[in-house]
Structure formats: structure tokens, C-alpha cells
């Protein structure tokens, strides 16, 4: 076999050294009636054949390169500088394990330490962990933090209906054994307008552990949550803001607004769309909550030669030490994706990230302004937005998207799937990857729909 280098002669010698006759003798503890099943799998392919088969599968897809894409809804097509993948392809990074042996893992450890620093800078927070699986699970883990902070005595979580539907679904799954109630989010009835402080504030009470909002929200809207956060704090509750990291290149940070936890989907920071994963859940908080935070954490120290160095620290929070009393069961993080985002942020830097954020903002606003000039298409919300916006359409969204696809355009997200009250509402995302010509083409095809 390709990746098992022992020769028949070596295997013989090794069996002899072990003191058994044949390979089968090593498996005597396995119940005989189930031993050595015949697996109904295809015969092995050589690398050449496998490469051809995979290429054929890949070619059966249409991609955001083949099509012009205005699809976002939690995963965004951004430019990834070439240098990012060159670093990720270093075997020293991607074939290393979790840095439990710091003497020979300083590359990973310093890279995570810097990632933590960059994420704190971006969110305006004080502490970042080494990452979670994705934005959805990072939101779910924010509940674990709040639950631990109040030692399970507060049992209510208020969540805005304009948090990503899949994040809310994930949260529901996570809390089903925890005895928590969720409030603020009844998917059947919401129209999406309820995110305003006026709607959520009455729900926050002395039993509320956590309030969760999104920024920009699922509809792309940007709100200053300062007042809502003050209300929550007055009731003693914590507030988690799920943020888009590209938007934070331009917008006021949730840290400035007073958030206790800032999480989000890090995919826009140099990670390919890759049909939904692997992505990056970032998780930042205030230093006062660090002992309640889940996940790995890197801290600075010195080695016995007086050199500055880094180690995994506060590990007593984690499952391999605390077992059932750990802050979470998380073990694997998204180490390599965290590295991707750190390389991306260090390449773009202070000016580059702002540039990308502004490009997204300007292009999205141009697109929105052109679209609402078409008869029958109107804004759903009269609220500032970042790079994504909801449009009320004159026809069902699936018809519009089918028509767009015929013209090589990947349309937006059909909001009616998750919000029945938002039937015929299309969520359109625009990034720096969309040229003016592409936007104009979108507007033109939408105009045809309007005329039909």
C-alpha cells in the first residue's frame, strides 16, 4: 500500500520479535464471528486515478468563480491573498498536533498568541481563545460561559430573531439538556423588525443569563447596541454580540458598546467558502470572565533559558483536566483556520482591512440603490446596513433566483425559508469581489423579472 512502508520481510521479522506466527494472531481478542468482515467498498485507486475521480466531482459543481455571486447569509466570497495558502501549506503547521509540548511547538503557540491579539484588536475585547468550530458553535459556547458565570442560577437566554437562523438552531440543539429557556425568538412569527431594543428589552429580567444579538445582523443591518447592553447590565445579564469580522474593519466595535462576549464567524478572514467548512469560530471576552471561557488559551511566559515563549494556559478549565466539570467538552479547535485568519489580517493590516470593509460597503450601497430603482423592488428595512441588505421583490424569490441562475448569476438568500413573514424577500450580499459590471448585470436581469 502507498502509505504503509513495511516490506513483507520486515513484517515477518517483526511478528517474530513479537512472538506470534502471523498477523491474524494479533487480533485474538476480537470476537471470532465478527473478525475480518469483508467490506463492500470499491477497489483501491492509485493517486492518478483518485485525482481524476475527484477532479470529475469538482467539475460537476458550479462555483462562485463560474457564476457571479450575490449569496452571503453567513459565508462570504472575499479575496484571499496568495501568501495565506503558502503559509497554510507548510507541513510544520498543518501536520502538527495541538501544542501540548511547548518546547517543540512554539510556532503554533506564538501564531495562536498573535491570533488572540489580532482578534482582541478587531473586536475591542481583552481576551480571545484559540477558536471554536464556527460562528454557530461560538454563539452556543457563549451560553456555556454565561451559564457558568451564574452557576446555573439564571436560566433564561434572550436571543434576537435577527441572529443567523442556523446559529439559533445550533443553540437550540446545544441547550436541550441544560434546562435553559430561550426567549425573543419565535421563528414562525417574527418579521425581523424585533431586534430593536424596544422589543428585546422587556424580555430581559433578573433570570436572564445572556442576551445574544448579531452585528451586522442576519439582514445586514447595523445598530448601536450600547443602550440595549446597558439595559441588560442593569438586570445583571451578560451580552454576547456575534459580529462579522470584515465589518469590524470599519465599524464601531462591540467592545466599545460594552459587550461582554464577542463571537463570530471568521471565514471572511482569508478562509475559502469550501461548501461551508472548515471555518473559524472566534470567541473573545472580558478578562474577568476568562476562567469561565471554554477552549484553548495561549499565554506568554519564559523558558528555562530566559527566552520569551508561549504555553497553553489555564488548562484546568478544560475537559482533559476537569472532565465532567469542565467549562465545555471542546478539545479540537480550528487551529489552522485561526492561522489563516492571522496571516490574512497581518497581510491586510490596518489599512487593508479598512479598504476591504469600505469596498464592501460602497458596492453594496450602489447595488441596493440601483435595485430599488426597479419598479416593484423596495427596501425591507429603513436601517443602515453594511454589505448585505434585504429587498422586497415583486415575485417569489425562487423564481427570481432561477431566472438569475439562467443568466449565470447566483442570487441571494430567500428569507422566506426562515421567516414566513418575509416571503418574497431576498437577502443580497456584495463584497469587494463584485465589480460594477456584475452589479449592473444583476440589476438588468432583475429589471427583466420586473417586466415579465
Amino acid at each position: 500500500m502507498t502509505y504503509t512502508p513495511l516490506t513483507p520481510g520486515e513484517r515477518e521479522a517483526m511478528l517474530q520479535a513479537i512472538g506470534v506466527q502471523k498477523m491474524e494472531d494479533l487480533f485474538q481478542d476480537v470476537p471470532a464471528r465478527h473478525r475480518f468482515p469483508s467490506l463492500d467498498l470499491p477497489p483501491a485507486l492509485t493517486e492518478m486515478e483518485a485525482a481524476a475521480e475527484l477532479a470529475e466531482l469538482a467539475a460537476a459543481n458550479e462555483t462562485v468563480r463560474d457564476l457571479v455571486s450575490f449569496l452571503g447569509a453567513g459565508a462570504y466570497h472575499h479575496y484571499i491573498p496568495a501568501a495565506v495558502d503558502h503559509i497554510l501549506r507548510r507541513g510544520e503547521f498543518y501536520t502538527a498536533y495541538t501544542p501540548y509540548q511547548p518546547e517543540i511547538s512554539q510556532g503554533t503557540l506564538q501564531a495562536i498568541f498573535e491570533y488572540q491579539s489580532l482578534l482582541c484588536a478587531l473586536t475591542g475585547m481583552e481576551v480571545s481563545n484559540a477558536s471554536h468550530y464556527d460562528g454557530a458553535t461560538a454563539v452556543a459556547e457563549s451560553v456555556n460561559l454565561a451559564y457558568a458565570q451564574f452557576r446555573g442560577k439564571r436560566t433564561k437566554v434572550v436571543i434576537s430573531p435577527s441572529v443567523h437562523p442556523q446559529y439559533r438552531a445550533t443553540l437550540r440543539t446545544y441547550v436541550q439538556g441544560m434546562g435553559l429557556t430561550l426567549a425573543g425568538d419565535a421563528p414562525e412569527t417574527v418579521t425581523g423588525d424585533e431586534v430593536t431594543a424596544a422589543h428585546l428589552e422587556p424580555l430581559i429580567d433578573e433570570n436572564t443569563a445572556l442576551v445574544i444579538v448579531q452585528y451586522p445582523d442576519f439582514f445586514g443591518r447595523i445598530y448601536d447596541y450600547t443602550a440595549l447592553i446597558q439595559t441588560a447590565h442593569a438586570k445583571g445579564a451578560l451580552v454576547c454580540v456575534a459580529a462579522n469580522p470584515i465589518a469590524l474593519g470599519l465599524l464601531k466595535t462591540p467592545g466599545e458598546m460594552g459587550a461582554d462576549i464577542v463571537v463570530g464567524e471568521g471565514q471572511p478572514l482569508g478562509i475559502p467558502l469550501s461548501f461551508g467548512g472548515p471555518y473559524l469560530g472566534f470567541f473573545t471576552t472580558r478578562k474577568q470572565y476568562v476562567h469561565k471561557m471554554a477552549g484553548r488559551l495561549v499565554g506568554e511566559t519564559v523558558d528555562d533559558r530566559g527566552q520569551r515563549a508561549y504555553v497553553l494556559t489555564l488548562t484546568a478549565r478544560e475537559q482533559h483536566i476537569k472532565r465532567e466539570r469542565a467549562t465545555s467538552n471542546i478539545c479540537s479547535n480550528q487551529g489552522l483556520m485561526a492561522l489563516a485568519s492571522a496571516v490574512y489580517l497581518s497581510l491586510l493590516g490596518k489599512r487593508g482591512l479598512r479598504q476591504v470593509a469600505e469596498l464592501c460597503y460602497h458596492k453594496a450601497h450602489y447595488a441596493a440603490e440601483q435595485i430599488v430603482k426597479i419598479p416593484g423592488f423596495t427596501y425591507c428595512f429603513d436601517t443602515p446596513f453594511f454589505h448585505e441588505f434585504a429587498i422586497c421583490c415583486p415575485r417569489p424569490v425562487d423564481e427570481i433566483n432561477a431566472h438569475l441562475l439562467e443568466h449565470g448569476i447566483l442570487g441571494g438568500y430567500d428569507l422566506g425559508q426562515d421567516y414566513p413573514a418575509l416571503k418574497d424577500h431576498l437577502l443580497i450580499a456584495v463584497t469587494e469581489m463584485n465589480t460594477k459590471e456584475e452589479i449592473d448585470a444583476l440589476v438588468e436581469v432583475l429589471s427583466e423579472v420586473s417586466h415579465d
Binding site: A83, R305, A326
Partner: protein, 499 residues
């Protein structure tokens, strides 16, 4: 002394390398009119570093040189299956046809992805002997959480609400009790017997009508296949409980035995262990979950299925299906698709016979190392092992500890084994060579450990102060936890007023 007060900097941080005005990448000016920015919602400052591309590349290159990796050498880290990661897998995951697909595209435009996922589900079903698979969970622990929530949902769907106890052997990974606790279960620890098996009497005593199930790693973290596996499973089933299989050690079982045939009800796969998707310095992993027929309807949503049957002319249309009694979604989108592509490539290149060869060679390598080290280090459970074994880092006539032996191995250019786990062995050294290592490497590793056993007696201080030849020495872990420097800039200047 200044030297002791001011640590020597081996590699500056990104912030220390930053110089105002530099940029590694720039973007074009907008080709549309500029819109008015929302003044009240803009941030004042963006404290990111400023570096040229060459600065960034050199920084990360230098950092990479500080890492030990599978590409660089032998990594016998017990329980982690640090096998070689074939390069073709990396290339396949990066094919533009995969990498540039959006997770919410119409299914008609991503049939390649869906065929791949469907086929991988089928293959994992066949390998495990289970009835259905969801590829959604992101890692092993995530798969455990999924599986435990499924067990909980199964009992509740039958009106059996009192099953709140999860039985977990004392040799289990810490994720098992943590996942159970997150699902609202009470953990009951089951001891191991003298031969490293689940203690049957203790198991029987713990089994009653409040037991949701047993979480079992088999082979266990001692590297031993439970000699009474079918009886263990029967005892749990007889009290109405379910058996969860922690797939961390599946590498030993490929083509050897199928967990489903043994009676496991639900299990997770670690694609990043068994199927060679790389560990990435801590992740991403991928932890699909398989279920026997009676649990299939509880799998997390969605899974890939045929949504329109094909006929002779047209192929079937694949899409997403929600299992009838699903526990719900465990993450956004459809799982770690990039890792699924790698695992698919790996299984395709091994086929029906190659997977058994993988397990056989993994077990052979472990037993060979065990044979070479027997008599040098104590072996607390000395049986034929599976893909790994546990030795004790104790040398007669020396006070060195497992930690010292582990650190000294670095001077011989080997990654140490897992140490101090499993918890039931004092001074544990848990060694998993994997099938991708050749005999020369195993011999060199055994000889290094034999030499270190000698050094433990003749020059113990050499071990206690090891490593010596690595770029960094032992760390002051207490200082890290006490000072809690978690950022390389001063976030205080940036934080708001609330306290």
C-alpha cells in the same frame, strides 16, 4: 541580572515587526460611487499591525521552524493517531470546483459536492456496520455531544425520561464525561479490571433503569481490545441503555471488526485521526456520527440523500434531508467539507483491502515497539495490544518521571508519547506509532528510549533538565497562569469603561 528580568526574544511578534505605513496587500479603489459612511457607527482606530508581504512570510517561516510535525519526524502521540497526511489530499481539497462553492447554493449547482458527501456517508456506514451517518459534527468531542444528545432524545421519544446516567470507564478521554455533562447527564465512572477491561461486576451493579447508556472507547486508551466486549454491550442493552462508541481508536479496527456488528448503537469517527486529515496544529477536525437503525432518525440535520430518483438517462438528484426526529443542527452549514474531501480521497485510495492493511500495520507496529521496550519500562497491562500501548515512565533505581523521559526524547529528535494519560496508569507513556512508520524509525525510537532508560540511572539530571537541543527549554507554566499575558498589545487602552 538584566538577562533574567528581560526575556530574550527569539522571534518578534507581528506587532513588534510592524511599521506604520507598510502594507502586505492593497486593494483597488471602488469602481462605484462612494456611499456616505454611517458616522456615528464608525470605529475610531483599527489597531492592526502594518507589515510588508515579505515580513509576514519570513515571520511565519521562522515560526514554522519551531514546530515539530509529522512531516518532520516520528510523532507517536498515543490516542492521537498522528499518521502521515498524504499530499494528494491537500490538493484535492483545494480544487477550485470544491473550494469556491458556497454552502447555500442551489443543490442543482453542487451535485459534485453532494455525491462526494453521499458516497462518504455510505462508506462510513460500511466501515462501521451502522445504518446511517451524518457528516455534520466538526470534531470528535462535537460528535460525542451529538451522540449523547441522540441517546437522550431516543429515550425521551419513548417516554423514558428518567434515564439521566451516563456510564463512563475510568480510562475514557476527558471529552466523554464533559460531553455527557453538557447534555445534562450525570456521569458514573466504571472502573477497569486487572486486565484493563471494563469491570463487569461494577458495570452490572451500575446498570438500572436510570442508565441512558455507556460511552466506550474500544480499543480503550490502554490500547486494549475489551476481552468481553459483547458481554459489556449486552449488559448495558439488558438494562435498556445504549452504547456509544468513541471512535478515537478506530484506526485499529478498519477491516478488522465493525462496531455496529458488535452492537454499538451510535459512534463518532475522527476523520483527522483514522482517515488522515491533518491535525492542523489543533484543528480543524471532523467528527461524523454513525447510528444503528433505531437511532438513525435522531441524527443531526441535515444529511445528504437522494431527493429525486434517477432513471437510465438522468442521474439521481442529491440534496439535504432532515431526519424525522432529528436533535437539530449542531453547527452552521454541512460539516467540515474540506476535511470530507480529504477523507474521501484517502478511503478511495485504500479501498476494501487497503483499510485492513492500515489497521494490521498499525497494530503490528505497536506490538513490535511493545516487544522492544518490554523489560526496559514497566508495562502495567502486558497483553497483545492494538494500535497503541501504555508503558510506565519509571526506571528502577532512578527518580526520573515520565515527564523527564518525554522531554529527553526531544533531544533525540522524536516527539514524545502522550504522558500522564490515561489517568489510571501512574507516569503513563502512551505510545501510538501508526502504520505509516517503517521499521528503521521504530528501531531508532526504541533505541532512544532504551538509551534514555540508561541515562535515567547514570545521569538523571540530564533528563530532569531536558530538552537541551531544542530551540526552547522547559516553560514556566506557573508564570503564564499567574501573569495571564494573553495578548501582545495593550488592550487596556482600548477597552471601554464598564467594570
Amino acid at each position: 541580572m538584566t538577562d533574567e528580568l528581560t526575556p530574550k526574544v527569539v522571534e518578534p511578534t507581528l506587532y513588534e515587526l510592524s511599521s506604520p505605513g507598510r502594507a502586505g496587500v492593497t486593494f483597488p479603489d471602488p469602481d462605484v460611487p462612494r456611499a456616505k459612511l454611517p458616522d456615528s457607527l464608525l470605529r475610531a482606530d483599527l489597531p492592526l499591525p502594518e507589515l510588508a508581504e515579505v515580513d509576514v512570510i519570513r515571520h511565519y517561516l521562522r515560526l514554522s521552524h519551531f514546530n515539530y510535525s509529522v512531516d518532520g519526524g516520528f510523532y507517536p502521540l498515543g490516542s492521537c493517531t498522528m499518521k502521515y497526511n498524504p499530499k494528494i489530499n491537500e490538493d484535492m481539497a483545494r480544487l477550485p470546483g470544491f473550494a469556491f462553492t458556497h454552502p447555500l447554493q442551489p443543490v442543482e449547482t453542487v451535485q459534485g459536492n453532494l455525491v462526494l458527501m453521499y458516497t462518504l456517508q455510505e462508506w462510513l456506514k460500511e466501515i462501521s456496520g451502522l445504518a446511517a451517518v451524518s457528516l455534520q459534527p466538526a470534531a470528535g468531542a462535537h460528535g460525542e455531544l451529538t451522540g449523547v444528545l441522540m441517546m437522550r432524545a431516543y429515550h425521551r421519544a419513548r417516554g423514558d425520561d428518567k434515564r439521566v446516567k451516563m456510564l463512563i470507564p475510568d480510562s475514557a478521554h476527558g471529552t466523554n464525561p464533559a460531553s455527557s455533562a453538557m447534555s445534562g447527564m450525570t456521569v458514573v465512572q466504571i472502573p477497569s479490571d486487572r486486565r484493563g477491561n471494563v469491570d463487569l461486576e461494577a458495570l452490572k451493579a451500575a446498570c438500572d433503569d436510570t442508565v441512558a447508556g455507556l460511552m466506550l472507547t474500544n480499543p480503550n486508551t490502554l490500547g486494549l481490545f475489551d476481552e468481553h466486549i459483547e458481554e459489556v454491550i449486552r449488559i448495558v442493552h439488558d438494562c435498556g441503555g445504549l452504547v456509544y462508541g468513541d471512535g478515537a481508536n478506530l484506526n485499529a479496527l478498519l477491516g478488522i471488526v465493525r462496531p455496529g456488528d458488535l452492537g454499538f448503537d451510535v459512534m463518532h469517527f475522527n476523520l483527522h485521526k483514522t482517515f488522515s486529515t491533518p491535525h492542523g496544529g489543533g484543528g480543524p477536525g471532523s467528527g461524523p456520527v454513525g447510528a444503528a437503525a433505531h437511532l438513525a432518525d435522531f441524527l443531526p440535520s441535515p444529511i445528504v440523500g437522494v431527493i429525486e430518483a434517477g432513471d437510465g438517462e438522468t442521474p439521481p438528484l442529491y440534496g439535504f434531508i432532515e431526519p424525522k426526529q432529528t436533535i437539530g443542527r449542531v453547527k452552521a452549514f454541512h460539516g467540515h467539507f474540506g476535511m470530507l474531501v480529504r477523507a474521501f480521497t484517502y478511503i478511495a485510495m485504500h479501498g476494501r483491502d487497503g483499510l485492513r492493511t492500515v489497521a494490521e500495520n498499525a497494530v503490528l507496529n505497536a506490538n513490535y515497539l511493545l516487544a522492544r521496550l518490554r523489560g526496559v519500562y514497566p508495562i502495567p497491562y502486558d497483553r497483545i495490544c492494538m494500535h497503541e500501548f501504555v508503558a510506565e515512565g519509571k526506571i528502577a533505581g532512578s527518580d526520573v518521571r515520565a515527564l523527564d523521559i518525554a522531554k529527553r526524547l526531544m533531544d533525540y529528535d522524536f516527539h514524545p508519547p502522550t504522558n500522564y494519560f490515561p489517568l489510571i496508569v501512574h507516569e503513563a507513556l502512551m505510545i501510538e506509532p501508526t502504520e505509516t512508520e517503517n521499521k528503521q524509525t521504530l528501531d531508532a525510537f526504541a533505541e532512544a528510549l532504551i538509551k534514555i532508560a540508561e541515562e535515567a540511572k547514570t545521569a538523571p539530571d540530564l533528563l530532569k533538565s531536558a530538552p537541551h537541543k531544542t530551540p526552547f527549554g522547559r516553560m514556566d507554566e506557573v508564570k503564564a497562569a499567574r501573569d495571564l499575558v494573553l495578548c501582545c498589545w495593550a488592550p487596556e487602552s482600548y477597552s471601554n469603561q464598564r467594570e
